[in-house]
Amino acid sequence: MLKYSRNKLISVVREDHDTLSVHGILDDDIYSLELNITVRISDLQIITINGKWNRWTTPECHRAENLLNEAVGFRVEKGFTGKIHKVIGRKACRHFANLLIECCFSAKEAALIADMDDNAGRKQEKAVDESVKSVKSVIAAGPDISSKGFIIDLHVHTSPASPCSSADVNLLIEEAKRIGLDGICLTDHNFVWEPAEVEELRQRHDFLVLAGNEITTDQGDMLVFGLSRDIKGIIRLKDLRDEVDRAGGFLIAAHPFRGFLTFGIGELGLSAEKAMQRPLFKYVDALEVMNGKVTEKENLFAAEVAHGLGLPATGGSDAHEVSETGLYATRFLEKIKGERDLITALKSGKYMSVEYRK
């Protein structure tokens, strides 16, 4: 038969770089009490204490609560338990002393974890910095056409063609002209622009407007140029590749690492070398390595993979709002007049992704 039971539960949260907030509960057949303490991580010193009785025995037990403050300034170090038993256990209450010891030793363990976390964070930051540095040097080593060429935003969405976009096509073209782009490419989701309609836009705005598609495949979104078939639903990448080949078009993996490096998934150890082995890269002609809707880290990762695979790299804003036009673009060597010129230029590999107005 159970005669007595006691449970102690301690939880520790890191409040800031140097402060731990500790909450302890002691609950047994006789007593129930709680403690909230804060402890400095750097020297394990008790900064504040707050105690509360939930159940007690004598009418005088509450006198103990105020006396807990005598332990403020104590450090969790050699001789600490003796000091707590002597000061808190004798002057205040031995049950509070008991709980305080548990809280303080828990803080000591949590400080160890904080130290591990900080070291891991420093290592990770260093690794990311190194990676960014190396990828930036890779990009810098591309063809030197930074001061000349023809700049097109290869990836924009308009409304209502793309339900997710709020950008009116006319306003979007006006904005592209205003910021000095040489052209834009309408890449609405699974939507085929009529060639006559695109031509009419070119004439009306006296500006290079091109048409492509963004098609969703089983391997993610693909920017497709030169394909006029209206594809609905999700198509297998291999099948899309076949169709693009038959049409003599060009296929670019759009934002290939969107979401791959965020929120813990990035800690799974996906290296550029491993990423290069993804089957989808066998089916594409180029990689979009500058996309306005992903993080810089994801773009840099895509650039590293493109470089490793020897695939050309493109840039596009992925604009869904007028104001997003031209964040990134692709700089070509030659002037482009229409879709056929664009495909020829894309196949030549003589272009580079650029940060246009980021």
Binding site: L9, S11, V13, P59, E109
Partner: protein, 162 residues
């Protein structure tokens, strides 16, 4: 920072009456780094520890992962009561660097004491005035309690009555 829990500790101590002459007290401990268990057997009425076993199944500290039963054997024969903490620390401290092991044995011993305290407290009066007298008498009859905690310190209503 992020308000996410960075460390958690659970400790549970229970006392069972095995038969008229035997009590078992056991402590289970689990935290981010450690999982451990200690059990002591105590004979009545002299509250002598007659058996002690335990195991650390997980620990960050190597000193706790060696065979702890050698250290635990040293507490067999110790009587639970005043001065026991010093004795336990002295006996086990010579054989183990695993601080948590000593603490768990202490917890088991406290459990035994509190199991008897609970029994005594079940008979304390409900009436406030009678309650004061009850505790005042307790201090009077057990002078070791005087000035041992805030409730029994000078200035408390129990001590004023003595």
């Amino acid at each position: 920072m992020n308000n996410i829990l960075s460390y958690k500790r659970n400790r549970s101590t229970c006392v069972e009456q095995m038969d008229d002459y035997t009590m078992k007290s056991y402590c289970r401990f689990q935290d981010t780094f450690t999982e451990a268990y200690v059990e002591i057997m105590v004979c009545l009425p002299d509250l002598e520890i007659t058996g002690a076993t335990g195991e650390f199944t997980r620990s960050l500290r190597n000193e706790c992962l060696i065979d702890i039963n050698e250290s635990l054997k040293r507490v067999i024969g110790v009587r639970i009561g005043s001065g026991m903490l010093k004795i336990l620390k002295g006996l086990m401290g010579a054989k183990t660097d695993c601080r948590e092991l000593i603490f768990m044995v202490e917890e088991c011993c406290h459990g035994i004491i509190l199991a008897f305290t609970k029994k005594k407290l079940l008979f304390s009066p409900k009436d406030e005035k009678e309650k004061h007298e009850y505790y005042a008498n307790m201090v009077k009859e057990n002078i070791r309690m005087y000035n041992r905690c805030a409730a029994f310190a000078p200035g408390s209503s129990f001590v004023d009555k003595t």
